[in-house]
């Protein structure tokens, strides 16, 4: 049988990038525990529209945990209290009836607020544009097993590639560091033959862009990998350090 809960929401409202923000408290009733957090936010917004108020602006797109758009900081956790899920995959059954839920945008100097819960994550696109791609000709699709790749490398590259670029790592990091994101992108390419050709150049350019954009440095607290909805490991950060140091020492 369907269970429903009532919640009190403390939501961050901010009119624009320069405006001063504040918390607004709302109540939502009869929320199905089977619904997702974003569906609950939709219910809230419908309610606000009915009341003639401005709905809460928040980022969302695929609503199945692969696009990396949703970005809410809920009750002290990026993407809320559940593990290895994005906000859109967070079920309302994770909350208790009558609970007060605090909903905030990502807070980091690298991610300025656009409006309410929306932040500008363009910095990530700039880092990717600095080198997170393969630009050499790799020919057509090779025959299966023509280029052997070890199971370990394939697995680690795949795990790194599961990063959806949502920015939960930056939002969580006490240093506002983007190293988990950058290292995942460096790793997924450095581990595979097509990406190896440009590995040194890529590591140098992406790290330089990350620094230029004002992201912090890593103190290996490991908070990012705990909050990462895809469970990307900080061993990728060690690999990026290795790639970067090797590239710099070769120069």
């Amino acid at each position: 049988m369907e269970k429903t809960i009532n919640l009190k929401l403390k939501v961050w409202r901010q009119d624009g990038p320069k405006a001063k923000g504040h918390f607004e408290t709302y109540e939502v009733k009869n929320i199905s525990t089977d619904s997702s957090f974003l569906e609950m936010m939709d219910v809230l917004n419908e309610q606000l529209i009915q009341e003639g108020k401005e709905p809460v602006a928040f980022d969302h797109d695929c609503r199945e945990g692969i696009c990396g758009m949703c970005s809410m900081y809920i009750n002290g956790h990026a993407h809320g209290p559940d593990e290895d899920v994005t906000t859109c995959q967070l079920h309302m059954r994770k909350f208790k009836d009558g609970e007060t839920v605090t909903v905030e945008p990502w807070r980091s100097a690298g991610f300025p607020i656009i409006k309410d819960l929306m932040v500008n994550r363009n910095a990530f696109d700039q880092i990717i544009a600095a080198g997170g791609y393969v630009s050499v000709g790799t020919g057509g699709v090779p025959d299966a097993n023509a280029i052997p790749i070890s199971k370990e490398d394939a697995d680690e590259a795949m795990d790194a590639a599961s990063c959806i670029g949502c920015g939960a790592c930056v939002a969580t990091c006490k240093n506002g560091s983007a190293m988990l994101f950058v290292s995942a992108k460096v790793s997924q390419l450095a581990l595979l033959p097509q990406g190896k050709v440009e590995r040194a150049r890529r590591a140098k350019r992406m790290v330089a862009k990350m620094d230029e954009l004002g992201f912090g440095s890593c103190t290996n607290t490991g908070a990012c990998e705990v909050e990462c909805p895809k469970g990307v490991s900080i061993t990728n950060i060690a690999r990026m350090n290795r790639e970067y140091l090797m590239a710099k020492f070769k120069d």
Binding site: G76, H77, S108, V207, D211, Y244
Partner: protein
Amino acid sequence: MSNFLSSSIGKKFLMSITGLFLVTFLFIHLSLNALLLVDDGGELFNAAAHFMATNPLIKIMEPVLAIGFIVHIFYASLLTLQNQKARGKDRYASGNSTPDVTWASKNMYILGATILAFLIVHIAQFWVKFKITKELEPTHIDIAGVHTEVENAYALVNATFGYLWVVIVYVIGSIGLAWHLSHGVWSGLQTLGWSNTVWRKRWEVVGTVVAWIMGLGFSAIAVIQHFFFQ
């Protein structure tokens, strides 16, 4: 090279190599101090102190050690400031509830400051008296059968540890150091890139063991000197 040292990973690299260098120094320091626990009126310790004071290699390493400390502290301050700026002014109203994050890893600068405060007291109590004001009395010991006049470093150490407050300060300093190293050792190796899923667990164990050795070792020497060697 300036480009490398202004990058985030370059600065972390300096933190890492200076930090790991300081750990090797601590091992030498602790093994020599362990001689304070030999019940021979300080003869062995004085012989070791004499060897360290006259060894040319140690004379070269002394300024290197000082540079190691200065670089480590300078870059720690620089990185902490930059990281705070990157974090931004706004804080989360709902705080941070991320589980499985050690307190030490989030407070390395504070723990480092504790160690620095201890270091200042420590230098004033011993190094200054050894090298600057030269307050040591001469004493005679036999080194490998040769009757030698050496400075009685043991007498100063023994007298200093006679005060209870000194022992308390040293125990606090040792705990701060151990806590710092419990994160610092593996973190330093991770920064050098020497880590993966397997090695990370190994380094964490190594770091914990090093932290316990340093914490227990240095506190035990101060406590035992106070209670059993007066």
